[in-house]
């Protein structure tokens, strides 16, 4: 499919058949469902179900057991992007879903194809991202016989999917795929998987899949219990030190507007979690930026001293809470979540409000009669902002600072720029020193912490923006040298598909977060963290057919950023940054948020 699809893309007008096909499918509302067309095989039924559910793009890698499905894609309106590695396909699909606001779709063959998807599925599961994975499987009669390229994919992915399916019959396989697609975004989103034995997809059937619907009971009531909302509203009115904590659920529910209205209507300072970055503009006076292990000092002080924590769409991850004993220890907790199992899982919810983030925030906005008297508290938060700003020193005798690079990119790009990252120090700097103001612009691996997420995520994000007709938006991937080396082969996809994206490698020749911990907690013994053996990434980028640049000094930063952003296609800048730079502030693992270390000697 990718070979044939690449053909028109080399034309002078640069249009491709897939995006044209997508453009004719207006409106692009995710709920827009069409009737599936006639089919003759199980595989055609799979593809018809995907088209009917509104899927526009798939990321994957071909292989024996999935070949019938790929063959059915040959005539489909769905654009297939061949990735270099199945892990890249699952991350690209995940990021595509984050940016587009609809389930990402990835495909792989049985055995190693399926197991290579696993990291991306687990990543989507931890971050509650809607994604459907389709895997080929050996023919049903061979299942359980340890056949060539057989893995118990349903067994392997059971604990990391919302639900997974083994497709048993050609007549129903399309319905199953449609259900899995819808289930991935119903209620709390998450990845689903359908395992497709080759005999099932090859078998004849003329049964057209019916309308895709999530299974019964998986699409919960979006409204919270009105009595509970009233009780919570009284607590908010009486609060002296209220704080909002907006999590990734606010973004998934497309509730940023409701979140902004609520906080601004009642003058309540706002912190976010890392996945919640972008839900509230970080340049707003009420914004305290994000809280947690490497969050701002003022956000961590605010959530430590608050008497009323209004937490929306967050699962109170340990990287956010630090030690539970000292987390918001004096706060009445109002917890809004669509998933009842998150209520009181890690932090006891005094006022649980189960429902959709946007709907419940609207309910709260309507129920609160008067703003809490929190002027003194807002002043105190502002004092903390002045006392504990995110800063870094730039002495002349030290190498280029990575934070400076992040700020230079932020300065050179628009607010709608999409940032993707790998995992490690560079990820923290990208989240700290970039001012986010819009949802779905921060695309990262939070819960699983997957090094290597950045490059395939940039591919998925770029394809999503292009599919939505937002070709003008920039996509910037901040990566570390260690993270980049893990998935850089996906650069070949960006070159082949002529994807306009920029990869900024903050190269400190260390697996830097590990080096930082070794210095802080392991007496500076740099076991296996020294990455001085890295290749020259600018030359490697050129070998892939991308633009490759190298930067060592401050005065080279702005011109290189400009050149890379202006380049029509993938560009890689290898920034050689200070290997000694640490991510600060820092709450030591399990420590009290309010006791964050602002500098190394406070650890």
């Amino acid at each position: 499919m990718s070979d044939t699809a690449a053909q028109p893309r080399s034309d002078a007008d640069g249009s491709d058949d897939a995006s044209e096909a997508a453009a004719t499918e207006e409106p692009t509302d995710p709920d827009d469902e069409q009737a599936a067309g006639p089919v003759s095989t199980g595989a055609e039924s799979v593809v018809a179900a995907l088209e009917a559910a509104g899927a526009k793009t798939a990321f994957g890698v071909q292989g024996g057991a999935i070949m019938p499905v790929y063959d059915a894609l040959y005539d489909s309106s769905i654009r297939h992007v061949t990735m270099a590695h199945e892990q890249g396909a699952s991350h690209a699909a995940d990021a595509y879903g984050v940016v587009a606001g609809e389930p990402g779709l990835c495909m792989a063959t049985s055995g190693p194809g399926a197991t290579n998807l696993v990291t991306g599925i687990a990543d989507a599961d931890m971050d509650s991202d809607a994604m459907l994975a389709l895997t080929g499987q050996v023919p049903t009669e061979f299942v359980g016989n340890d056949a060539f390229q057989e893995t118990d994919t349903v067994g392997v992915t059971r604990p990391i999917t919302k639900h997974n399916y083994f497709a048993g019959e050609a007549d129903t396989v399309g319905d199953t795929v449609g259900e899995a697609f819808e289930l991935s975004r119903a209620g709390r989103p998450g990845p689903t998987l359908v395992d497709l034995p080759k005999d099932v997809t090859q078998a004849e059937t003329d049964r057209t899949p019916g309308p895709a619907t999530p299974p019964a009971g998986t699409d919960p009531d979006p409204n919270a219990d009105p009595d509970a909302v009233e009780e919570a509203a009284r607590v908010i009115e009486a609060a002296e030190r209220p704080v909002c904590l907006f999590g990734g659920g606010v973004i998934k529910a497309d509730a940023s507007a409701e979140a902004r209205t609520f906080a601004r209507s009642y003058g309540i300072p706002v912190t976010t979690t890392m996945p919640g970055i972008g839900s509230f503009p970080e340049d707003d006076d009420l914004s305290l930026s994000w809280a947690g292990m490497h969050g701002t000092g003022y956000a961590n002080l605010a959530i430590t001293h608050t008497d009323c924590l209004i937490a929306v769409g967050t699962r109170f991850d340990d990287r956010l809470t630090g030690g539970i004993d000292t987390f918001a220890p004096e706060a009445e907790v109002i917890h809004v979540d669509i998933d009842p199992a998150e209520i009181s899982k890690n932090v006891y919810a005094d006022y649980p409000l189960i429902g959709d983030a946007g709907r419940v925030l609207d309910q709260l906005t309507a129920a609160v009669r008067e703003a809490p008297d929190a002027e003194a508290w807002r002043d105190r938060c502002d004092e903390w902002k002045e006392t504990y700003p995110l800063t870094y020193a730039t002495p002349d005798d030290e190498p280029l600072k990575p934070q400076f690079v992040v700020e230079a990119f932020d300065e050179a790009t628009d607010d709608d720029t999409i940032v993707t990252t790998g995992v490690g120090q560079h990820q923290m700097w990208a989240s700290q020193f970039w001012t986010y103001s819009e949802p779905r612009t921060w695309v990262s691996s939070h819960g699983l912490g997957t090094m290597g997420y950045g490059v395939p995520a940039a591919v998925g994000a770029r394809v999503a923006a292009d599919t939505m007709g937002e070709e003008d938006r920039d996509v910037v991937c901040f990566d570390g040298d260690g993270s980049f080396l893990m998935t850089m082969q996906e650069l070949s996809v960006a070159v082949r598909e002529e994807l306009d994206l920029t990869i900024a490698v903050l190269n400190n020749e260390y697996i830097g977060m590990v080096r930082q911990w070794q210095d802080a907690f392991y007496e500076g013994r740099h076991m296996a963290s020294d990455y001085t053996w890295m290749p020259e990434f600018d030359k490697l980028a050129e070998a892939f057919g991308a633009l490759g640049l190298r930067v060592d000094d401050y005065d080279e930063v702005a011109p290189a950023v400009e050149e890379a952003l202006e380049y029509e296609g993938p560009a890689v800048i290898d920034f050689h940054v200070d290997p000694e730079e640490n991510v600060l502030p820092m709450v030591p693992s399990g420590g009290a948020n309010g006791k964050f270390a602002a500098a190394e000697d406070q650890l």
């Binding site: 919302k162 083994f166 299974p215 002080l301 220890p329 004096e330 020193a393 300065e411 600060l584 500098a599």
Partner: protein, 232 residues
């Protein structure tokens, strides 16, 4: 740009002179800040730091009505092990409704732990309904007990005392079937120990709620042949 960050970027570099805001090393350390007195316990519940309260764990019977589809038992047992729930037993069997099974679990958990088990179970797609069976539930377990047959008359006497039934008798061993709740089973096993227990197989308890209380929430008693609906 850069909002609450250092204000560096673009052409101008952040320097201590150009930027009045304190660098990390100049910011107050943890000991120079106020810290609240309050605390939470391990379950995230606010507590009085002086008298730390902890939930005691207790034994609970959880009943789930599930779709009888391949892998449902693996999903439930995988969930229990992955989330480190303390489970004593798990039994599964069909109901009067085609395609439905009942899973009965006995767990030893704190109240928040029991709450989590129920909520996490409810998220599994094949689980139709799940809940703790009320405290006075009818519970029963089946035990097969093989003892040495040196004194068959004595074995028979003990068996009768505990309403047991001899299901196999040979020259070397006697196998007895017992049913009952945990306490009576434990007593019976204690009584058989003096004969020398050769082998034992226990099903683990299964349970139903008393009277017309539904065993799993929303379950309507006597709906044989009809799909059980889950009305909250």
């Amino acid at each position: 740009m850069s909002g609450d960050a250092s204000g560096a970027g673009g052409e101008s570099r952040a320097t201590p002179d150009a930027d009045s805001r304190p660098l990390p090393g100049e910011q107050p350390g943890p000991d120079e800040r106020d810290h609240p007195e309050g605390r939470r316990n391990l379950e995230g519940i606010r507590i009085d730091p002086v008298v730390e309260a902890e939930h005691a764990s207790r034994r609970a019977v959880i009943s789930a009505l599930v779709e009888d589809e391949p892998g449902v038992l693996a999903r439930v047992s995988g969930l229990v092990s992955r989330r480190q729930f303390n489970i004593e037993s798990l039994t599964v069997g069909p109901t009067t409704v085609d395609g439905h099974s009942r899973i009965t679990m006995v767990v030893e958990e704190t109240d928040p732990g029991i709450d989590q088990i129920e909520k996490q179970m409810a998220k599994l797609k094949p689980v139709i309904s799940v809940g703790e069976v009320a405290g006075d539930a009818v519970t029963s377990e089946l035990v097969l007990l093989k003892v040495e047959a040196d004194d068959p008359a004595a074995v028979h006497a003990v068996s009768e005392m505990y309403d047991g039934r001899t299901v196999d008798a040979g020259p070397e061993t006697i196998t007895v079937e017992l049913t009952g709740d945990k306490a009576s089973i434990d007593n019976a096993i204690g009584a058989f120990e003096r004969f020398g227990i050769v082998e034992i197989a226990r099903t683990g308890p299964t349970a139903l709620a008393r009277g017309d209380t539904p065993t799993a929430p929303g379950e309507k008693p006597g709906t044989a042949g009809e799909p059980t609906t889950h009305d909250d």
